[in-house]
Symmetry: C2
């Protein structure tokens, strides 16, 4: 739900659509893409709202519900949210807009890993996502063991997200994400690395060490799942 | 208006907003970005409609007017169209939606070049854009001479746009765009290169020879202009 991540999600969705057209033997033309809208609306910080669950203007549910309602008015049938932490509100969002098919990033990722035969995963995410157990539960249901960073490593990941990607310092972000991944890969050899916050794939894949790891981008998995819905519905 | 170009425009707009926050000494946070929506709706091919001006479902004006109206209903105040050729319909679009500030990509680019002291420019664009004289007129008003490719070179640029970028073959696109630019740079030394179709900046800057040329991306100029409007209005 960071605006840079939102822009990147559109790019991934467009690529996924182009792959579907090519796989179906159709020419890839502008007119072959499904209609799609990107809503980037101001939403309070999701990790902060999970740390302070009192009601108030720092809660993101109402602005997110409002954006969903506007997308529904535009004729949207399926919606993906390009923010892992925001999925803590998936149930009330889906309940508040039952006519929409609201995709779930962790369920899509778990199904993708299981289909690829992955049995162990390292999870990089925000404190908010760890607190909700979003991926732990989805991965467990799919039979994939989920390894979490230590408290100090989590703080390093958060620093890479906020002082790194969100503030535009990609070198700092790479150092933070690669340092934590390297240490965890030693403890949990053979694990895939789930980049469970949309800011992480904007920096970690460019780290020198990244070629040694099996990186999984849930945002790319989500984009693929949305493209699948778009062509199935057409 | 190609979906890949639309996705790239959001990326450029987000970057322009981040630069504005940083320049104003404000922290760059998700909540500091203005609300913005991307509409990617099926619109008939713009170059084809300019080649065949008879009325009919191959004309893009009505679908574009419809999208503008929906953006206005969402509360949009300023709109940028990430497609050069579509600007052939700028006047009827602006007349049909007078409450919106509809930016003009060629006017913004011409003002940008003049402010940078550029006096000569090579124009790479679609046949549709050449036919409308979109940039020629805007550059002339700003005192910038505009150099156009030969008919054979135009055909090569169109091949790079359609068989290259739009079809996902970036290597072919690079060869087409760089070949024409290299030949024109010999004929018109000291010219800036205006990449006057949104597909061109997705390939030409990655060509080996590109470091010798002063490439100007009107889409980036347009994104900067839209960010300026967004923060001025806030």
């Amino acid at each position: 739900m960071g605006p840079a991540a939102g822009a990147d999600f559109v790019r991934l969705f467009v690529q996924a659509c182009a792959r579907r057209m090519a796989a179906a033997g159709r020419p890839v033309t502008d007119q072959g893409f499904p209609e799609h809208w990107l809503a980037q609306v101001p939403v309070p910080d999701r990790s902060r709202a999970l740390a302070d669950t009192t009601p108030g203007p720092h809660q993101p549910l109402d602005p997110m519900l409002d954006a969903l309602g506007r997308l529904h008015s535009l004729g949207a049938r399926a919606v993906a949210i390009a923010c892992n932490t925001a999925h803590a509100w998936h149930a009330p969002l889906q309940a508040g807009c039952p006519a929409l098919d609201l995709l779930h990033i962790a369920d899509e990722t778990a199904a993708h890993l299981a289909a690829a035969g992955v049995r162990q995963a390292i999870l990089l995410a925000t404190e908010g996502t760890y607190a909700t157990g979003l991926y732990d539960a989805a991965l467990a249901r799919a039979g994939v063991a989920c390894h979490l960073p230590t408290a100090a490593e989590r703080a390093t990941v958060m620093h890479g997200i906020y002082a790194g990607v969100k503030a535009g310092d990609m070198a700092l972000a790479r150092r933070c994400f690669a340092g934590v991944t390297g240490a965890m890969a030693v403890r949990h050899p053979g694990s895939a690395v789930v980049m469970g916050c949309t800011e992480i794939p904007l920096a970690l894949p460019d780290a020198e060490e990244a070629r040694h790891w099996q990186l999984v981008d849930p945002t790319a998995v989500l984009a693929e799942a949305l493209a699948r819905r778009a062509y199935a519905a057409g």
